[in-house]
Subunit: 317 residues, 2 copies
């Protein structure tokens, strides 16, 4: 066990809101600077000419304490004058952008056009928001999650927001992934001798974690890291807390079970945190299992689950 | 005199707020569809990656009844969350963009990038805002007013907003003007047999009207039009109602006098509306002169001055 004076570094792989909840828990229980979040950018898209990075921004807003607790996305204390005006002008309004949120998109787009990498832009924003953690996009190169559905192939945001996950999913692709390089900070974070754990947050394995793993090199770096890699089940009692994970698993013909998620991650993970409500399923899982209450309603829940992850990693070392 | 059933078409050349006041007066006294505003685009610039057309937008907001009466620019009932957030992110905040105003800039930038002309974009916005007048940019090609000052050459908005007109002006240039073509609607408007008058609004002659006249062909079309061309003095009692007209004239060594403005327009104009407070100067002016109260504080003032313009044009025909 590390003492209080030693660095306690953790890498979390995260998608949107569910993953960000656990990332916030880790952020709060680790020493300042101990957390690195590798965020999915497969959901990124260009909308109204602006580069939008939904999962990166959810991480930024969540760790900065700016996340909107009612909507589950965007910023708290948000105003909507832009959107109302855009609607009056006949613009595209299916993707809701708050006035404050827009500042981040405009500033990111401007800096990217000026030649900065996404990593650099996000690090700059995190610094301005006084976030004492590294938030790293999985890649500075474009990767775009494409959802193959019974109604044709859709961009992720079209599937997720415009069509509200209604189309039946037949498969997923991560366009651009094969030519993408991991963001520069990822190798250093995963090779860090002080790394205690890598946590695959309870995000959608297929839509949020898979794009990260599709970037060549990241899977290999995870396999090579000395720290234990643990995944937290995104399913409780056969259901996802939020989002289309269960629906997609059903449509893909995968049993809606934590065992299927653990199998999907395969030998990438050393341990699996199973919700205690699913204790009966533990014997069917291949990796080492720890039972925990994985439901994160309160801030205390997030911190408690984060501590369980760290304790589990400590057991696995 | 035209009867109430005949079309009564008027073209107004306008810069920002001063010109838009008279344009609004004309809009209100003419039959629906009778007004064409040719707006200066020399003030246009790209800021935060967005194409901003300040004078076009002032015309749009003014005729749509959306102009901010307190600020004198931007929209009424505006919110400022974007700007406050951008400041927190360390972005550029010297040019203030309201949340609603931003919708127009984002939408315009998107449509221009998609290949639409500025004329088409503005016509579409005017239609959405239910403006029963044509608002036409002077050109769909970029023209950028550059202000030569004792502190070096500045982009117009840098001079006007960032430096608040403080640098001493030594000259002006209209970059791109020589290769710019008049927007397509201009030729038709000026050749219209039903055209009653062309009005050079009381905008800054050097910064707002000159860029329009610098577009090759516009000066010739104004000379060829059958309708009388009249200018409204931007000076009252040796001062501009608003803006740097008098300061610039002084710095350029031009007498701060309506006569100098009339001389500047030269034989382009058939008549000149002089403020009644300057009646003593009438004998020094070369074009035909009409005295009027040119101060436009109220909506009634704008309509009254518009009627004076139309009456003067009728006398000159």
């Amino acid at each position: 066990m590390s003492s209080a004076n030693q660095p306690r570094n953790v890498v979390a792989l995260s998608g949107g809101i569910g993953g960000a909840k656990l990332a916030l828990g880790l952020y709060r229980v680790l020493p300042r600077g101990g957390l690195t979040v590798i965020a999915n950018t497969g959901d990124d898209f260009t909308h109204l000419g602006l580069h939008i990075s939904p999962d990166v921004d959810t991480a930024l807003y969540t760790l900065a304490g700016l996340a909107n607790p009612v909507l589950g996305w965007g910023r708290r204390d948000e105003t909507w004058t832009f959107m109302a005006t855009l609607e009056r002008l006949g613009g595209d309004t299916w993707f809701r952008l708050g006035d404050g949120d827009l500042a981040l998109h405009v500033e990111r787009t401007r800096r990217l056009a000026a030649g900065e990498t996404l990593s650099r832009v996000i690090a700059g924003v995190a610094e301005r928001l006084e976030i004492a953690a590294r938030i790293v996009p999985m890649s500075d190169d474009p990767v775009r999650t494409r959802v193959r559905t019974a109604e044709g192939e859709l961009d992720f945001q079209e599937y997720f927001v415009r069509h509200q996950c209604r189309p039946v999913v037949t498969g997923m692709g991560y366009a651009g992934a094969q030519n993408a390089r991991p963001a520069p900070a990822i190798a250093a974070a995963l090779a860090d001798p002080a790394l205690e754990a890598v946590v695959l947050c309870p995000s959608n394995p297929y839509l949020s974690i898979a794009p990260i793993l599709a970037v060549p090199g990241i899977r290999e770096m995870l396999a090579a890291t000395a720290a234990p890699v643990i995944a937290v089940s995104p399913l409780i009692g056969g259901k996802a807390v939020k989002g289309p994970t269960a629906k997609i698993m059903t449509e893909l013909g995968i049993p809606v079970s934590p065992a299927a998620v653990a199998d999907y991650y395969g030998n990438l993970i050393d341990g699996f945190i199973l919700d205690q409500r699913d204790a009966a399923l533990a014997s069917g899982l291949k990796p080492k299992v720890k039972l925990a209450d994985t439901l994160m309603n309160t801030l205390e829940d997030r911190e408690r689950l984060a501590r369980e992850c760290l304790a589990f990693a400590s057991e696995l070392r």
